[in-house]
């Protein structure tokens, strides 16, 4: 089987790397890592300690520190706006992971082919990811305008009814996900392109000889081999989607009503608009835990899949 041969190759590669690393691994590499560790600790640990400390206080800006224990956390359990924001964040995240993953992977497969002007087209495709989010959000806002926006005009050209886009509660999430997909599919594409470039050529030769069609080659060969890359892309995408702020803030500020108020947006309102630092910190802590837990789940899946692939035979 062609798959088995691929697995074999992989396993032997891994073994070689492992044995190599054992020899070199005796040297301590800590001096290389230490400066970065110091920097990261300094910029991460202090704010975190401070946030935890604030989260057990009732600290309204302008008033003295007042220890309240877990009162803020208990209050969160009954805060409808907070609870709803979590559900919304999860929905937003799932959509903003799935859509860019699909489009990004397709784009990578496409741009992996030889074609004229590939560099230019690929460059244009990557532009949304590189453009300044605040700047593009302002332009999207105007394009979404239900009466005067260019999007509804484009719809009318192909005979579709005008939409309310970000101006109605039931379409706002989908519209924002559209922007998010437009912006972040390129990241998925770049990562998957990396995966495609590392694929060995021989399994494809034997598959072709066995008479596998393009779809079969993708499904049985490419997909399993780029799976680790897909999972990396998925992890990054998930973290970013959970934390998404600039785009939502600049386009809807969480509206209409609270229809697009994700946890990060709510956190912003509480901490900055309502100046309730203690309560806001409690939200930050829970929100962070949510991100960590979800990331660990994905990492776990990744290791699991790695093990399965490594032992395919």
């Amino acid at each position: 089987m062609t798959l088995a041969s691929a697995g074999e190759r992989r396993a032997s590669q891994q073994a070689r790397r492992l044995s190599g690393s054992r020899k070199v691994g005796r040297i301590s590499y800590w001096p290389f890592v230490l400066p970065a560790l110091v920097v990261v600790s300094a910029v991460v640990v202090f704010p975190w300690a401070f946030t935890l400390w604030m989260s057990v206080s009732e600290w309204k800006v302008g008033e003295p520190y007042h220890f309240v224990g877990f009162a803020n956390y208990l209050r969160l359990l009954h805060d409808q706006r907070f609870l709803q924001s979590i559900g919304r964040t999860l929905l937003y995240t799932v959509l903003s992971v799935v859509a860019p993953m699909v489009i990004g992977t397709l784009a990578a497969l496409l741009f992996n082919e030889k074609m004229p002007a590939r560099g230019l087209l690929r460059g244009i495709f990557v532009m949304p990811m590189m453009a300044t989010p605040v700047a593009i959000a302002l332009v999207w806002t105007m394009m979404f305008h239900p009466q005067l926006g260019v999007l509804n005009y484009l719809l009318s050209l192909i005979g579709l009814d005008p939409q309310d886009w970000v101006f109605a509660p039931d379409t706002v999430i989908a519209s924002l996900v559209m922007v998010e997909t437009w912006q972040w599919s390129p990241l998925v594409m770049l990562i998957v392109l990396g995966g495609l470039a590392s694929l060995p050529a021989d399994p494809y030769e034997s598959a072709r000889i066995d008479g596998a069609n393009a779809f079969q080659r993708f499904w049985y060969l490419t997909l399993p081999m780029i799976l680790p890359f897909l999972l990396v892309a998925m992890t990054i995408r998930m973290i970013d989607a959970l934390k998404s702020f600039d785009i939502i803030y600049a386009i809807t500020q969480g509206g209409p009503g609270t229809a697009s108020e994700t946890t990060n947006l709510y956190l912003y309102s509480v901490a900055f608009a309502y100046a309730e630092i203690g309560y806001g910190s409690a939200i930050a802590v829970l929100f962070f835990l949510l991100i960590v837990v979800l990331s660990l789940v994905l990492l776990h899946v990744r290791e699991l899949s790695g093990r399965i692939l490594g032992t395919t035979k």
Binding site: P31, F125, T132, L138, V150, P228, N264
Partner: protein, 280 residues
Amino acid sequence: MSAATRRRMMRFASQLGTLFCAALLVSPALFFFLWMISLSLKLEIDNGAYPPIFIPTHIAWKNYSGVFASNNFFLYFWNSIVVTGTATLLALIVGVPAGYGIARMKASKSAIVIMIARMTPGLSYLIPMFLIFQWLGLLGTLAPQIIIHLVVTVPIVIWVMIGYFETTPLELEEAAMIDGANRWQIFSQVTLPIARPGIVVSLILSVIFSWNNFIFGVVLAGRDTRTLPVAVYNMLSFEQVSWGPLAAAALVVTFPVLVLTIVAQRQIVAGLTAGAVKGG
């Protein structure tokens, strides 16, 4: 018709098909940026028109001259360069060796610690950082923004470099070690030169994400220390619609990054292709 001609035609047709799909794929991005240019060149009255006007009746260059003439534009531009440049340079200095160390130690689990910086909601850094910088008396300077931008740049550099170093061959290093080189010599003379494409990618990505950062500047920047994205958002005036000037300002801010993208897309793809994101 010979088989060869038919094959050539088939290949041509499939190339055409690929090209068509690619064009379809890039059309949203292309349309968006063209529309942005159009907005930036029109008077307000045309920007609100329906059906929309794509090609301006009067070209409103004053949208652009307004951006450059607005007080402090060049100062903000310079601030952006200083903040992004310094934060990226520092990130490379600490991040490249760290990526090397982590990759060689096979300690990809420890990279998770680095990822925590990426997982933390950016907002939760702001108030603690604001208070400590105020206490240190640094608020009127660019230092707070440079330091907080490290939160963005260091993880990117380490992340990209781990993956890169994992794929660079160990044999050369082992040979150098047998020749009696110490690990610092090995790193600087053997590994680093091979890793140049990876460094270029991490540099480009770090520059772009630092350049684009908005929220840190809102709280930490003052009148003289603002960066460009904050300055653009500040053009939103209460009581006055101003899409043209906004689009012009937005384009001016994004322009350097877009040029960098188009120019360096080959390096970005090549660098990432070298296995850059495999690790971590």
